[in-house]
Amino acid sequence: MAIVYQKSKGLTDKELHYCPGCNHGIIHKLVAEVMEELGILDNTIGVCPVGCSVFAYNYFNCDMQEAAHGRAPAVATGIKRTHPDAPVFTYQGDGDLASIGTAEIVHAAMRGEKITTIFVNNAIYGMTGGQMAPTTLIGQKATTCPLGRTREQAGMPIRMSEMLATLDGCVYAERVCVTDIPHLNKAKAAIKKAFQKQLAGEGFTFVEVLSTCPTNWGMTPLKSVQWLKDNMIPYYPLGCIKDTDAEPKTEAN
């Protein structure tokens, strides 16, 4: 009998600790499948953050380092510069990457570090219990903006993919989501492309994955998916923001 589906070798057998309806499990799976398909499980080194995916080192079946909050791109720089032949990725949430770790992610991208960053944006701090993130939408309630985020109090949410795409060292930035199979397939293709461009030595590659947080959003998993589509995608539009392959090559004078 032909095997039509099986768990990726890129994942361990450890039981995931994520809440029901959380997208981390799906995103882990996609990253694991990409690593397996590219045949890089044996030499990849991953870096996980502080946040809900803090235990990701238990789930990815490759060497892993656990970084301090926000510092994953710096840790990954230390690894990649000394192991230029090894694929290196960071897996970070929005509190980690878009708040405390902004300096590290911006400068890793600026230097064109040959790493891949998977940025899971669920517009809230999950692990610490639903506080406002820099990505929390205007009007969205969180435990540190119980009446909803306001522009006057906290400014407008940050769009990391667009910001990083302005840097020459960033060769690929795409925003995806995993709310249904077509989107999930696109997300996997983006993650694969990011790793491939890293392996080709092109520069810094970035995939932002919009994700749900039913627990801290206070919704069922299904309602969360709908909320993501109705609220997050309009502010954080899906699609490729930067791909140096697709850009017309300008003639040097």
């Binding site: 990815f60 892993m64 380092q65 301090a68 840790v75 230390g78 300096a103 911006v106």
Partner: protein, 356 residues
């Protein structure tokens, strides 16, 4: 061997290369900027890695990544920059990674001054970051020692999987002195089979981590660290006794003040006062027992601690070592002012007079 004239910071940098440092991650700050400047040119010449980080925070986390991947990694900075590195240092200690951190101390608190000082003793010897941990702290008092300790620091770090701090002050970093390049004895080191190099055929994955969410597990991890620190305390204590055998007055000092204390001893002895110098070389582990024994000697009447610190920081360890056996006085300056020979002589005479 021939003597060469080297500036402290550049000698420290060259010593790191000779010690087999694979990678340096740093950020400019006075008075240590010659370290990254030197390494930015010479590390690539040796096929080694140099990265100027966006901040001290990033630099120490690059060290974490590279050290976790099995490399001999290093960073350097000066006091305010070392404060920024504390987050990374506690993670490195928690994850048991070897690395070398150079602190070319300047005056504080805050921006303080760019002149030499010793106000970071507590920070270096008490951990500095959160949690129960220790770093090995080597305190050179001249450029030759800075070079010799630098070459050995990587071995100590690798042997115990622990950060090692070279605690110099701005004076040692900035001055030029003749040195000899010694062949420092190499230690027999354990293999880095824990490093995240990529599995490369290994059946299991390696993980670098300082998170132990289960309290019992975290307790066990801390106990394991404690056992390691006890081992370091047993094996690595270093100090120098100079003219202590008959001394009625013991000066305690490290780094630059210890150099001044040597002249002070000579001056005091010429004046008929039998003075000696007890100089801790490892500030952690502190040579507590040796100081205790010395202070207990009948010929010792008083102890005078001299530091480039206003309140005295090593003074706490001196008190713990002396344990009330003899009276202890203190002379200190901070913010770039350096105690003079005359001041030390005067304080020594006063200390002895009060003790009698």
């Amino acid at each position: 061997m021939e003597k060469e004239l080297w500036k402290g910071n550049e000698a420290i940098a060259e010593a790191a290369i000779r010690a087999g440092c694979d990678c340096f991650f740093g950020y400019p700050i006075t008075p240590q900027s010659e370290v990254p400047e030197y390494l930015s040119l010479h590390m690539p010449e040796h096929g080694k890695v140099f990265v100027q980080a966006e901040s001290e925070v990033a630099a120490i986390n690059m060290v974490y990544g590279a050290a976790g991947a099995g490399m001999r990694a290093m960073t350097s900075s000066s006091s305010p920059g070392i404060s920024l590195k504390q987050e990374g240092i506690t993670y490195i200690a928690g994850a048991e990674l070897p690395c070398v951190i150079v602190n070319c101390m300047r005056g504080g608190p805050g921006l303080g001054t760019i002149q030499p000082a010793q106000g970071d003793y507590y920070q270096a010897t008490r951990g500095g970051g959160n949690g129960d941990y220790r770093t090995v702290v080597l305190a050179p008092s001249n450029v030759q020692e800075a070079v010799d300790f630098m070459q050995e620091a990587f071995d100590i770090a690798d042997q115990y999987r622990n950060p090692v701090v070279l605690l110099a002050d701005g004076l040692i970093g900035q001055m030029m002195e003749p040195i000899v390049w010694h062949d420092v004895p190499k230690r027999k080191l354990p293999p880095k089979d824990w490093a995240t190099t990529g599995r490369r055929g290994r059946a299991h994955t390696n993980v670098i981590n300082s998170l132990y969410i289960d309290p019992d597990e975290c307790d066990r991890h801390n106990m394991h660290l404690e056992e390691k620190y006890a081992e370091i305390q047993k094996n690595e204590v270093r100090f120098e006794c100079r003219a202590c055998d008959d001394a009625e007055l013991i000066l305690t000092a490290y780094g630059t003040p210890a150099r001044i204390a040597i002249t002070a001893i000579e001056t005091l002895r010429e004046a008929g006062i039998r003075a000696g110098l007890f100089r801790p070389i490892t500030l952690w582990p502190f040579p507590e027992k040796a100081l205790h024994e010395l202070a207990g000697s009948d010929h010792v009447k008083a102890v005078l601690d001299v530091e480039m610190s206003s309140s005295g920081q090593m003074l706490d360890d001196v008190r713990l070592g002396v344990e009330g056996q003899k009276p202890i006085s203190f002379l200190g300056h901070a913010g770039g002012a350096i105690p003079t020979v005359e001041e030390i002589v005067e304080a020594a005479q006063k200390a002895l007079k009060e003790a009698k």
